[in-house]
Point group: C2
């Protein structure tokens, strides 16, 4: 209690600009987050971002001179040309989504602006999307959807390719926050899980009951369900290449809810067309997925349009993180999900 | 060990006929079940059911005179006209699937034939199908599948109807084995769960952490996700009527993986056409689903062709149950999943 009123008194002197659209206020700052945030920041003002240009946004900033901005998808980019003026007063851009590069030139970070994003507050939503794609691929849900809706289809008796997740060997490439949440969702299915993630220490894998694959090719050889969740560092571009994809045995499942560019898109298309592997995709090397992509129309491929990130009802989790970060900032503590100059390049 | 060799010696005198197709041997009696069953029943014989007529099957039976038959989908029906002959020797029909009425006339049960089926050995598979339909409905997977595969669709920005399962209120109509397995699969999503199932005692609901709805209408009023799993007793035919369906609020989800005839199909179609509720169906009042069903083509409806029951890789669970039942039979113990004259009528 005392800590909280302490934060509030620390915040009362600071000017906070909420540069958000109505939709963003509704979703990210749904109640009770909105009430708590406004109470924490009595000295706040909101600018509606609808139709706002970067120049107008810079003008709003220099007129109000906030120490903190709360921003999201609709917020115009900070103009590099206005940096000297803006950094006279702005110390912290509390961003509610994942993307930063589109909104904040790197020069602002290099000049000392604090930036945070939604961090791992959205991991459960993406992990849930991975589970949907896994189950969909195993049961051939897309083939049934197209056949039943368009061709009057019914099942051809009792013998056809259809699998359950129970007991299946699941490999996860990458073991960050989404992968860890996925392990929780997989728990009731009693699946053996292995991961390739050199940077994650043994203690973490032991804690989650997950085995380590020493080589990425071992993971692809072993997995009946392979979930792609590697971060898009430069060395991970196309790390999942033709050789790795060919290691997946017929009847297995390949799901990507991480980064499209980690996978050689041409090799993925060839595997999809060959038809031996069931595929579930939420992300693509080129987004939006081109209208003429050969992936469209293939019944062994479940397609989603990059919707893994938080559904509207889950965006409040990012709002909660922002609220906690504003309190940390006021108390002089280190931010959670702070975007460093290093991580800036990795966040797409 | 002694118990097992005891069962085996009890079984060595008994003649067992495996009346199964090659596919059924492969799936239901996959290793290690097959090896164990054949070791338990040294005095066995197999008849391949491919192309076998009921008359030929009766002839096979009267020629070999087994005390026990292991049967499945491909096994011809027992002829009522041959009952006096057949029941001279046959004591137990160990059936590997759910359906009994199509295979065994009720007169056989009334004359004392023991019959068992797959019981709840397949519940996890159906519960998994329910989870797939729930997640699919919440994320509008069928609308994306049809739009992305056929119309070059991509998402229309960041604001569209899409929900997560986390924290959503889940109602389950019926609380048998499948519902209980579904509760396990829902656990990581931290959803409040309520059920309407008058025959299930409070202790069971407490054990599963599930609340009781006193009236079925209360369950439909409360639920954001409603899963239909009521048994098809005569009084449950069309128990889910227009009034109940209209209680589901816009944006909610209705899933049926139980029995199609528990739902008034016409009222369901009206709700589907109205489009305010997301629907996931694996079962229908009329199966196969008619080619001209108005459900086909609706993007808010995910359709599966009654595939909830065990995928091929899970049929071994029914084989394990059969093996355990053969041991129980040999030891003079009560069978698991025994079909009584009462339950005979309920199993569709």
């Amino acid at each position: 209690m005392s800590d909280r009123s302490g934060d509030a008194s620390m915040m009362s002197k600071r000017q906070v600009l909420l540069a958000l659209s109505d939709d963003e206020i509704d979703d990210f700052l749904a109640e009770p987050v909105r009430r708590e945030m406004l109470a924490l920041c009595p000295n706040h003002r909101r600018v509606d971002t609808a139709g706002l240009t970067p120049e107008q946004y810079a003008d709003e900033l220099t007129a109000y001179r906030p120490e903190i901005v709360v921003s999201a998808w609709s917020t115009p980019a900070l103009l590099e040309s206005r940096l000297p003026e803006i950094l006279e007063f702005l110390r912290y851009d509390c961003h509610l989504t994942g993307t930063i590069r589109r909104f904040i030139p790197k020069a602002y970070l290099e000049a000392g602006l604090l930036v945070s994003n939604w961090g791992s507050s959205i991991s459960d939503s993406v992990a849930e999307c991975a589970l949907l794609l896994i189950l969909s691929a195993l049961r051939r849900a897309t083939a049934w959807a197209l056949g039943m809706h368009l061709e009057g289809m019914w099942k051809p008796g009792n013998y056809f390719e259809n699998y359950s997740l129970f007991g299946r060997r699941v490999g996860i490439h990458g073991f960050g926050a989404i992968a860890r949440e996925l392990v929780h969702l997989l728990r009731p299915f009693a699946v053996p899980i292995s991961t390739y993630s050199p940077s994650v220490p043994d203690e973490i894998l032991t804690e989650y009951g997950v085995d380590r694959a020493v080589h990425l090719r071992d993971l692809f050889d072993w997995s009946q369900v392979l979930v792609e969740l590697a971060p898009l560092k430069p060395e991970n571009r196309h790390i999942v290449d033709r050789d790795l994809l060919q290691r997946l045995e017929p009847g297995s499942v390949f799901v990507n809810v991480g980064r499209g560019a980690c996978v050689d898109q041409q090799a993925l298309i060839e595997m999809a067309v060959a038809g031996h592997v069931q595929i579930g995709l939420d992300v693509y090397e080129e987004e939006p997925l081109p209208v003429d992509s050969p992936l469209r129309g293939l019944r062994n491929v479940t397609l989603l349009p990059h919707i893994g990130g938080p559904t509207r009802d889950r965006r409040i989790e990012s709002g909660k993180l922002a609220l906690a970060n504003l309190k940390r900032y006021a108390g002089g503590k280190t931010l959670v999900a702070q975007v460093s100059r290093d991580s800036y390049d990795r966040i797409t």
